[in-house]
Symmetry: C2
Subunit: 345 residues, 2 copies
């Protein structure tokens, strides 16, 4: 292994000079710099990560904790993770992958050992067990998701309330007066995962404001489950003219069932989804949808962390909750409700 000392000797300078050439922390004459960089190049020198971390107490590593559970929509998770890794690299950081399995202790471990300088937590629950560790003199952290009490925490998430409201606005604007919401599986609500409940809140309050009648049903993703929920909805509220779906796995079953029961989309019934753009665009009927900005979430999380790591001890722009504004893309699945059937037609 080639060391900094060897580079220094090769270039005929001192070790510190090589170090400063690398870090740029003090002025170096053009000729020295050239000599040094040439030697580095020639010898194929690579600074030792451990030595660096030891001497500077900065590992240049961010820990990313992904949920072990896999009942949520996975592609979004991976997309966030990849965005985190990519953005981190762009700032000279590497990413350590932690699974939820180890829980709060994993945070203590990687952080206490100086392995990671900071952490990003995905899939945060409303009363997440990892939060106490973070509030109490914890390491710099950013949560992707919004817990019940975000006080003193750094969070990035989609504004799911606004997303819900956006769906209602779109449908109400088209003239729908009665809608049904097909939600995540019951387990997601039971775990209080926040985002599902926030979306619901947004849907409900905007529906009330715009005098739209609304029904909500959690739903497993299986074909049979969707069939059951759909049947119940149509039974209880025969005049429902639009569905809002927040459950990626329920999308195709729903569309298939609507087709099978002779309901054309969007002529007879409209469908609006809250899901990854890719899913919406590739559905058997391209769906009007509110996207989940996975890449943006990952990117923002890292950027806030970097700001905190490199900025003023408690500088601005790095604290509090940041909610990304949802965007609704109109595709082929939404339109005005069908004219009321003339009785006896």
């Amino acid at each position: 292994m080639v060391t900094l000392a060897e580079v220094a000797r090769h270039a005929g300078v001192s070790a510190s000079t090589v170090s400063y050439v690398l870090s740029g922390k003090r002025p170096i004459s053009a000729v020295t710099r050239r000599r040094v960089t040439a030697s580095i190049e020639q010898l194929g020198y690579q600074p030792h990560a451990g030595a660096r971390a030891l001497a500077s107490s900065r590992s240049r590593i961010i820990a990313l904790m992904v949920p072990l559970r896999t009942d949520m929509y996975v592609p979004v998770m991976l997309e966030i993770a990849v965005a985190v890794a990519t953005t981190a690299r762009a700032h000279g950081y590497d990413v350590l992958l932690l699974t939820g399995e180890e829980g709060p202790s994993a945070l203590r471990r990687v952080t206490g050992s100086g392995l990671a300088e900071a952490v990003i937590l995905m899939d945060v629950q409303l009363d997440d067990g990892r939060l106490p560790v973070l509030r109490t003199a914890g390491p710099p952290a950013v949560l992707v998701g919004l817990p019940a009490d975000p006080a003193g925490l750094n969070c990035v998430d989609l504004d799911f309330r606004a997303a819900g409201a956006l769906c209602v606005d779109h449908l109400a604007g088209l003239g729908h007066r009665e809608i049904a919401v097909i939600g995540e599986s019951p387990g997601v609500y039971a775990r209080h995962t926040g985002f599902a409940e926030r979306t619901l809140g947004g849907l409900r309050s905007r529906a009330a404001e715009r005098e739209v009648r609304m029904l909500h049903r959690p739903c497993e993703g299986s074909h049979d489950a969707v069939a059951g929920v759909l049947a119940r909805i149509l039974d209880e509220r025969p005049r429902v003219s639009a569905f809002v779906v927040q459950n990626e796995t329920a999308v195709e079953p729903l569309l298939a069932l609507l087709r099978r029961t002779g309901r054309a989309v969007p002529e007879d019934v409209s469908v609006v989804a809250v899901c990854a753009d890719q899913i919406a665009a590739q559905a058997s009927v391209p769906l009007t949808s509110v996207a989940i900005p996975a890449q943006e979430l990952g990117r923002r999380a890292v950027e806030r962390l970097i700001a905190r790591l490199t900025g003023r001890p408690d500088g601005e722009g790095a604290a509090g909750v940041e909610l990304l504004t949802p965007v609704l893309t109109v595709r082929d699945s939404s339109g005005p409700p069908p004219p009321p059937r003339t009785p006896g037609a």
Copy 2:
């Protein structure tokens, strides 16, 4: 930060003793050990990762390179990644997340800087650009996937050839004489991703052996694309009585289309998939399938790496290709072909 030296002082022993208590690399008397562990506990000591890596030249970190591309079935990727992380932790290793974006240079970087001791590569292409780095005095590595020339490389993968053969055996055993294969999107074949072609090879040769007529069509995952491919197949080979699908996103569209065109599964037509078990089990018709053992792949990859890292310099059991035996699970989508229609019925 509390250091080993402080622990030593607190326990009234030397630093090396503390170190040896931690590593177990030499016998320690019960009483000393108790004193030391008590001090460690009390002071909340955590060894500094960087210092350790520097002194021992072992970082206890494995780099995992996941593809940036996302046109492959993502949940399998995440499942492998999580299995890698979990297994690595069980062996005292952490996992560094690399994206394909940086390419071969990322391998050089993390490995040359001593950041990672070894690497695991996912989604290996037949002529992967990262392979030269690995053959040439590269770091210990395990590939998940099988390149064209695995000589000198360490690979773990599902035996896709056998998987293909297994599908044919199952269908031939039920009496099917003519089958169609709906494959991955054309891009996957164009990239020479290996697994798709190996499956095809297994399907073809076993079909030839068992005198089953077979047709193969690559296929995008969209509903429309599947519709087009299906129409063509039924047109060209009206007597096809079974489908083998190796394309997770095509599964639901296919089932929906079969339903819509009045073909009952499995009475009129059988469907066998090569995909994640979860997908197969949750499909609108639970699918007979050959599973992709994501967890097992991740686990084996790590275990082979650990064996190589801790074992004899070039010990056994750590070299060459390991292909996992595929398992076919019979569910509700496969059965005997329908009786030949009596002409004029």
